[in-house]
């Protein structure tokens, strides 16, 4: 196999296994490895790719597809994506399978009940983290609250909501309600 592809695997597969808590945890390490250690790209190029990753659907770790593309074209993108998702998925697979084998046991039931409050706390904390990262303003908070209400009370289609919010923001921009500096 191409040396560049092996390099991509050697960088991303270990990071996959230590990405506890999700992709945000390893973005700094990805930058360090690809920019400082391997000199595959410059800091500015990395910042551009990071902006694209945030715009694209899917997890933030998807940035490795762009890095892989940058290093070795399509196959680089594919190999990097597999390297970042496969190792962690194997851990999740074995964990979840063991969990499933113990279905119906009383201790499992207690653990499931016990996990609910923690999951609820994590969900709200995640929403706040996104608001903080996006420097969300009052308009953003109002729209988030309105969307929460719409999703809670109606069965409105996700695409319709996405297109609706995009159109609303475009309208606010042209009416000069939304500031240019985001």
């Amino acid at each position: 196999m191409d040396n560049r592809l092996i390099g991509l695997i050697l960088v991303f597969a270990p990071l996959s296994l230590v990405s506890f808590g999700g992709g945000q945890a390893i973005v700094a390490d990805i930058q360090h490895q690809t920019v400082d250690v391997h000199s595959w790209l410059s800091n500015q190029e990395f910042a551009d790719l990071f902006a694209i990753a945030r715009a694209a659907p899917g997890p933030s770790t998807m940035i490795v597809a762009l890095l892989g593309w940058h290093v070795a074209g399509f196959w680089g993108a594919l190999v990097a994506t597999i390297a970042i998702f496969l190792p962690s998925s194997l851990v999740m697979y074995f964990g979840a399978s063991w969990w499933q084998r113990n279905e119906g046991t009383s201790w499992r039931l207690a653990i499931e009940r016990g996990l609910t409050p923690v999951a609820v706390g994590l969900l709200f904390a995640g929403a706040v983290a996104v608001m903080r990262a996006m420097h969300i303003d009052y308009i953003g908070i109002a729209i988030a609250a309105a969307c929460a209400g719409l999703i809670y009370f109606t069965k409105l289609n996700a695409y319709l909501l996405i297109v609706g919010v995009a159109a609303l923001y475009a309208a606010l921009y042209f009416l000069h309600v939304v500031p240019l500096s985001i």
Binding site: S89, A110, A125, I151, I182
Partner: protein, 188 residues
């Protein structure tokens, strides 16, 4: 396999649903859209299974939405279901990010791009809040679970403490309480 208890979901449905979730996974509302499809719409997954999968996918290494897709796929159709769910979820994101990468030089000229992305992120926040409220109903106005949920939120969301140690404390406390409650119920 006990086919009488759990409905056997066709693999093609698993693939299609996760591709759909993959396309809507902009702005971080993935958990909400997954909950909507699997729990609310199709009723293939219970709220308890969903919250367990969510906590697992957040605590174990890996991107949370990918782990969540894998867990749900495993629940629906075992190993093959998990594989199909992950492939279904990741493929649209992979294609989209490559296309965006190619179009970036052209798109980044327009300030409108980042404005619209800000709006979509707000929608993602709203979707997450909505599923948080839905799952909160399972706390059933009991003081201890509500306190644990608030403490978890406060530590990570407000204090910005690292997630892993907070979860490592909150989960044992919460599970021990659930055990104690169950024993009390059984022994009068």
């Amino acid at each position: 396999m006990d086919s009488t208890e759990k409905p056997r979901v066709p693999l093609s449905s698993v693939l299609l649903i996760f591709m759909r979730i993959g396309i809507t996974a902009v702005g971080g509302g993935t958990a909400a859209w997954t909950h909507r499809e699997l729990v609310e719409k199709h009723r293939w997954i219970t709220d308890e299974t969903f919250t367990t999968g969510m906590t697992f996918s957040q605590v174990l290494p890996g991107a949370n939405p990918v782990n969540l897709a894998l867990y749900m796929g495993l629940q629906l159709r075992g190993g093959i279901g998990g594989t199909v769910a992950v492939l279904g979820f990741v493929t649209p994101s992979f294609c989209a990010i490559i296309l965006l990468g190619l179009a970036y030089n052209w798109l980044s000229v327009y300030p409108l791009t980042s404005i619209i992305l800000g709006g979509i992120a707000a929608l993602g926040v709203g979707a997450t809040l909505s599923v948080g409220i839905k799952l909160s109903r399972h706390l059933r106005a009991k003081a201890v679970p509500i306190l644990i949920a608030l403490a978890t939120f406060g530590a990570i969301g407000v204090m910005q403490w690292p997630m892993i140690p907070v979860v490592a404390v909150a989960v044992p406390v919460s599970v021990a309480y659930a055990f104690w409650l169950e024993r009390k119920r059984r022994h009068g």
